[in-house]
Symmetry: C2
Subunit: 501 residues, 2 copies
């Protein structure tokens, strides 16, 4: 390309490098850092965030964007060049509204809050975390006010994670499938004795769990030459380049699910990042496009593949070899039903596919109300528990199993939760299309051949990075916007078979 476009790319590469360095500081804090390092780390993250923000929101960026835009005039909408300028301009117009001091203050507050939250959760003591959360919500609402919104601050927050979406649109999508979920769960509850997950609650050596998780995610296509797996309190995937995408997991020596399905989930995120087009490496387009689309990848691999009968036709004999005492006399069907047991429970990340979106709807209500000033932070534990009772018919016995369970708020991620539910819906839409396009996918999976699906995902979704918004991508791939029809159909079919509904 021309000199102006190249200058823009070089400038943006510096910002990307600062952001990725900050990403490494965060990864290290959650996986490696000794406890004493927290205050200095907060200061380091704050400096990097501030400098990156200043560089990106400088007048120089605006000038470079204009110059590059003129230079690439006429390039197609979906070209790398037009996409870069278009997407970066939108990022710029958002971020330029945020004062550097506010960004730095929020970064510092969240970096400090992480340890406070972890301790509060450990001690089951919300009041310890409350001042941190009050500060974070206050700063986040300030962010929303700077970004601007139509109806309420929460609109601006969700737009950060899923561009173009609003509180009202999310409510509409949630309202459209909540009744079907509630009905499905009620029907299952009436037959809850049909499925037991007892086989998953046995002693499982952690090193063996690790070995099996590694084998599985490697088979799915996660590339360890460009990644690694570590332990974190709240597992996540993070990318410093398409060639260095790391996942984290956590082990429970008496329960197979967290490490196994958690690893597959994070590998789903990571494969998205590892398969972004090489030409986008080092540019702001070199990452997943939205959190909802990201979650569609993790949830597809975790649930639509990882909790399917076909997958375990291939994987179960391997699991039996690794844990002969635990599974030697368990049949595939019993295991398949166990990993698909539906039961209202307290912890979102451990929720089954049928109840999961209800956990999100709860958080969506609370977040939109607390950022609108309708709920005081001090009242959150009570609000959480009351609504949880209304949604699920059970009350969390402790804040650690309730309002304190998620890391997100300590990280300033308010408005992020809805994307998990949107991801479930998108996963069903995309998977439906993938099977239409490549009908051998289910059979291939049953034979441990995952590249039929993975290459379809790479061609249709991964390679594009951030070139298209979630909505643009979804229409390109499926011909329609996000909808809950496919997801509800998927759940009803699957659980009708398992529970004999």
């Amino acid at each position: 390309m021309g000199a102006k476009y190249d200058a823009l790319k070089a400038h943006l590469a510096d910002v990307e490098n600062l952001n990725h360095a900050q990403g490494l500081l965060n990864w290290d804090q959650q996986t490696q850092m000794p406890p004493g390092g927290a205050p200095a780390r907060a200061a380091q993250v704050a400096t990097l965030a501030r400098i990156a923000h200043e560089m990106f929101t400088s007048d120089e960026t605006a000038k470079m964007l204009d110059d590059a835009d003129a230079e690439i005039a006429g390039m197609p909408y979906d070209s790398d060049e037009a996409s870069l300028v278009r997407v970066v301009r939108q990022d710029y117009e958002d971020l330029v509204k945020l004062p550097s001091d506010l960004v730095a203050e929020l970064t510092r507050a969240t970096s400090m809050a992480h340890e406070v939250w972890a301790k509060a959760r450990e001690d089951n003591h919300f009041r310890t975390f409350q001042p941190s959360l009050e500060k974070i919500v206050d700063l986040t609402v300030q962010v929303a006010e700077h970004l601007g919104f139509q109806d309420q601050p929460y609109d601006a927050l969700v737009d950060q994670y899923e561009r173009g979406i609003t509180t009202a649109r999310i409510k509409e999508i949630f309202d459209a499938h909540k009744p079907a979920l509630v009905a499905l769960i009620a029907a299952i509850q009436a037959r809850s004795d049909r499925v037991s997950d007892a086989v998953l609650h046995q002693e499982f050596d952690v090193d063996q769990q690790r070995a099996f998780s590694v084998e599985v995610v490697q088979a799915l296509g996660y590339d360890f030459n460009r990644g690694r797996i570590d332990v974190a309190v709240h597992p996540f995937a993070t990318s410093f380049s398409r060639n260095d995408v790391r996942i984290t997991t956590r082990f429970n020596a008496r329960w197979l699910n967290p490490a196994l399905f958690g690893s597959i989930h994070e590998a789903g995120h990571a494969m998205y990042e590892q398969n972004v087009g090489e030409a986008l490496e080092g540019t702001p387009l070199g990452a997943g496009t939205s959190l909802g689309v990201h979650e569609s990848q993790s949830r597809m691999w975790e649930n639509m593949i990882g909790r399917s009968k076909g997958f375990w036709c291939w994987a179960f004999p391997r699991l039996q070899t690794i844990f002969p005492a635990q599974f030697g006399r368990v049949d595939l069907d019993t295991f398949y039903r166990a990993i698909n047991k539906v039961q209202p429970s307290f912890i979102r990340v451990e929720a089954d596919e049928a109840t999961y979106n209800l956990h999100i709807m709860l958080r969506f209500e609370l977040e939109s109300e607390m950022t609108a000033g309708k709920i005081r932070i001090g009242d959150l534990p009570e609000e959480w528990n009351d609504r949880f009772e209304a949604f699920f018919g059970i009350t969390p016995p402790s804040d650690s199993l309730g309002v304190l369970q998620d890391v997100h708020w300590s990280m300033g991620l308010i408005g992020y939760f809805p994307t998990y539910a949107l991801g479930n819906l998108l996963a069903a839409q995309y998977y439906q299309k993938a099977i239409q396009a490549r009908p051998s996918i289910p059979d291939d999976i049953a034979q441990g051949k995952f590249d039929t699906l993975r290459t379809w995902l790479t061609e249709n979704i991964h390679q594009h990075g951030r070139k298209f918004t979630s909505d643009e991508l979804t229409r390109r791939v499926t011909g329609e916007p996000i909808q809950s029809r496919d997801y509800i159909h998927y759940l009803q079919t699957k659980f009708a078979e398992i529970y004999g509904l």
Copy 2:
């Protein structure tokens, strides 16, 4: 302090945060990063280095230094304030001479060269590394030319690591003790059959080695709440704050020394950083003052403590408990003699105390000549081997055991090696003073009580951080400049006893 001084401190804190972030990127690259991450990491490190360099060498820094200087006029020489302005001004005057592009190019070249060197060493193939090294030496000589020097480029390079020293002064110090070393080694060689180190070459479970290393460095005073230990090809210590100082080591399942003495060595570096005065945290003074002084700490703990009879009076029974099959029937004296066996060998980091400084003198010759253009990089393997033969009477059988053994050149650290030998001399000088001031130190060590020495070191050396130069500090602590008398006396006394000279 006043507003001008505080503004300077805040500005410098940003630079420190960038430097520490870069430190983490390097630590990660050497201990955690998947291989695919190298190119992106090089770009990230280059961006951070360039921005830190630009911020520090900006006119703003000069202005802030002048303003703060005026504000703190009259503060004592050894006050934190006067020291900060004085030391930073010196750093500034050096760095301002270096063009940002050259710094970035060197950072990028060394970041890429690391993997190349590691592979070349693994493959025993110098030619693979040669182009990287040629580039690094070329860039380093350019650095020297920008910094300026009296006699030769190497003067400017050694001054970066040991401020105030010159090639001529190092040569003088080396020449002053080389004959005594050579004579000592010859006398020992004549009685080499007196000591066997066979007991160190057995099977040692790596996890057990790790447990013992951790127990030892913790007992010495390395604080794991503010640190951690990892595995690296070339072990090092690194600090991102006095409260996050990490060490690395490497394990050999058939040889005890690398992990054990390597861990003590790095813990010696790390305790220096962990015990820098709290008031200096986050400022450019919050680190060890020079590489020579740093090495005095690591070598003191590794050798003067870790290879002393007294230390093993306490530690050997513990080692016997961990490795009963290997040491159950070995007596303390045999073990003590084994760990002090003197024998010319190829690898510097595995060299004994008597031959160690000769390894440095070899590198000193080669570095000063190759930066003066007197040796071509392509001739280095031959030059290395010829001189090694002259120094030690043996010839390296491979470049991996010769010119490729050290990581330093791949990192652009030319002029660094002499500080290792200076560190040995300083260790003897400081330890001598410590025992004069606290005569119970040897007895305390024999009882596993290390804080008598450590607190003396903290009070006299560690707490000052970078407030004083190596020379200033050495004169304050010992009343004289660096000399080799104490070190030679220490070696002669110790080995006369062991070898019956």
